[in-house]
Amino acid sequence: MRLSVELPLLGTDISHCDSNTFEVEIFPDRPDLLCAETLAHAIRPFIHGEEPQPNLEVIDGDITLAVDASLAEVRPVILAAVVRGVDVGQTEEQRQQFIKGLMEHQEKLHFALGRGRRRASIGVHDLSALAPPFRVITVARDYSFIPLAATEEMSIEEILKEHPKGIDYAHLLDGMETVPVILDANDAVLSFPPIINGEHTTVSENTTDFFIDVTGWDERACVACLQLICLQLSARGGVVEAVRINPCSGEEFSAPDPAPLNHEVSRSLVKDILGWDFTDDQIGTAISRMGGKFLGGDEFLHFLMPRWRFDILHPIDIIEDLAIGHGYDDLGSSQPEISMAGQARPESMLGRRVRECMQGLGLQQVQSLTLSNEADQFTKVRWLPQGEPTIIANPITNEHTMLRQSILPSLLRLIASNRHHELPQCIYESGYCVRDHKNTTRAAWLVADHKAGFAKARGFAQILLRDLGAEMATVTWEALEAGQGPWLAGRGARIKIDGRIVGEFGEVDPSVSEKFELSVPMHGGEFDLKALRTAIPDPVI
């Protein structure tokens, strides 16, 4: 009960909760909360006030991993750890639950931190089946071994083409002639990262000692992955043992690094962002709840945060932790101080006036999608492209392959989908079209009725011009040639104001209606609002 109220305050929403299940939604910035053990590690200080544990406990060990220099070009970051004596459970059900939890954690980290295993990938092995020391080398594509879930040796080439995991991740090795493999002292293949483990290292229900490898291109992601798997296993009583690593470049080091990371945050930035001076006590309490430690400081505050907190890129991330640790419901209040006058966009005034006019004509406003297609926009209505059309590279359907250049086709479609309703149907839309990849505002009407002829259309056009305050002496009406637009020959017209085209209207040609599967008389019109705004001055100004 307490958990369901307080857990969301950590930024982890409960999506489902019953007597024995908690489903928690983890935001992508907190990959350190992706399994029950690491989530519990964060909850203990946040909710139960326990002493935070920002460090991983690691003992010395004598297992080594030597990385060949050739890895620099193929998979430069290689880390490893050993965890012994993990309590995997008493009953078979508990053990299966444990293995399932471990595998799921690994897959979630592959997605969240590994970005599909490119930045980082994790291999978990049964240490008892292996003969240390280990080494990582690169091999040619005809090198072969028995991969996980296979019974016979397969070559690297075959694995990448035939093995399910090989097919999924082969693209990560595109263009590489040689690929990495991790071997033990007997030259048995532990792993072919980032694709697949060797068969004989498979973790079983009896495995209590683990060897973990993490490889990739992104050091921070690899470090976090290793730390989080170790944290998960140590929560099960496992003892983490350091592995000595001889990297492809640089000095020997041991992994995982037990020490938390030191972060420095300027006190003034805390005040700038959170709006007030936090006392050192408040800062200490807040960061403890978030699993870190406050070391003090004057101008600059010093914090120890767990190395697995991959999300901390900048001092601002510590500041958010302070806010969450302090409580979002107790942030205080503050009003903007600078007085400002809001300003609507100049075109929104014309938009409102056009809508009032259209609604005064008894037209119902509709809104349709901007996504359209060439047939609707050009072929069916006999309009030519106006400037460059915006074409989608990855459309979902052939109905939505481009952005519309005109609105009228959307209205024809809408009337078509409403053909089962009674007439009259009188609609308009005012909105954006895209020409030459730029947004431009247009408005169109369409009326389907028994007597929807040209005279009606001209009446609508007259009212629009009159209501917008056009000087009638500046307006010219030009008959459109047959086949120019959706209008019936001799029943379509273009309107110019001071010689500038502002729109066109007419009686819809039945052969156009037919293409939208419509068989009712219709009249319509479409106007360029930008042109209207230029041609007709605002009557108030």
């Binding site: 700038d272 979002y328 903007p336 400002m340 005064g360 119902q364 590279a393 979902i396």
Partner: protein
Amino acid sequence: MGESALSNPERRMLAALLGNPDQDWSLDEVLSACSWHDQAQAVGAGQGLADAGLVSLNEQASAVWTLGIEGERAHADGLLEARLWNWLVSQPESERGMGDLNSAGFKRHETGPGVGLLKGLGVKIIAGSLTLPEDASEFSGVADILSARGDFLASLVEGMSEESLDSSMLAHFKGRKDLIVSSESVSRTWKVTEAGMAVDSSTLVEATQIADITPELLQGDGWRNAEFKPYDVNLESANPMTGKAHPMQALIERIGAIFLEMGFTEISGDYVTSAGWNMDALFIPQDHPAREMQDTFYLDNPASIDIADEQLKSWQEIHEHGGDTGSLGWGGKFSPEIAQRGLLRTHTTVNTIRHLAKNPKEPCRVFSVGRVFRKESIDRTHLPEFHQIEGIIMEPGACLPMLVTTLKTFYAKMGYPEVRVRPAYFPYTEPSLEVEIKWRGEWLELGGAGIFRPEVTEPLGCSAPVCAWGMGLERLAMLVLDLDDIRQLYISDLEWLRAQPIL
């Protein structure tokens, strides 16, 4: 109730009844006195007068007998026993056998009951032959009975009340199949009450009642003393055709007005933009899942949009190692080609960022409302384009409490005074929060907010922290309109659209 409210038929009937106020008026008498032919008119007027307390109504239910199917046939062709009798008396004695009956045209199903009826009238069967009664008085008695029975049937043609019928005759025909049937009938009488007698008969002159008012009527004086037909206010009329705003438009107007009241200036931008402005400027890593082809509409035309080298370089530094912001960056290699890919904007934040890029030093409060595009298949809850609103504040002193206070003001102006915030995550804000409002008793997530990350604002040269918040509009529209299918908003059923309240 005053008599002025009486209808014309009520006036006529009351005037007639006042001609003899002590009488109980039957329906026929009323019809005749009022020169009406339609019973319903008399019953209706009588009911109206009774409701007004001007007459008393006495209703009596009784059984009415009319002809059944067989009765109507018997009335037309004669009763079976009469037809048999007539045949019998016209036949020579030697040809009155049962076989002769059939050859005379009597149906097989008629002969059995027919002979039984004849027996009841005194005809005997002697040696297979029908024999007439010998006694002359008995003989003529049969003829009387037959004619009485025929008359009885004839009297029922229009229906007769049970009391006015001969009970023995009624009993006889009740015993025979389908000759007569009864139904319930109400007989009414009306009598003027004291209140009715007090009515001044001069007010009972029938007035002209007018339904449609015409200009011709109004131009003369006829309308002055005319009566206007009252209408039944409960009757529904046809809906007139109207034009009104789409609910999304109305929501946008309402929200735009709130922003303007709060001193925000509206900005806008193009749907077509580059991945760089849409994502890289917001510090969304280039390998972020949301940037993949299955989530974003990329473009063939324009496949690529030029971005100044200087801009690309600044994003490159930020992404690879944090530039000089103090951030670690995302690591990896930044691709200028990926940044220049053309796409349909996936959020309106791109408007905000471009505004800040152009005006980095000037404190501002701006907002935008517009469509954004996501590669989603259309179903009940998804559309590939929808509306987002977004507002930002940049000024010295902009901070988390200012953001929360502003959010509370904003949502209170929308009509949601109860607001709370929760930690959340967006790639381009830190701290980030989720806004929840109390809507009809339930906490409801209605937007996201935060302070733009330094990796976003510092390369733009922003002089102060930037508070930002936004929300999608369709979800709110669906709640307000109690809509469970988002398609209704953009692929609308026009009847539905017309039926929506004006928001």
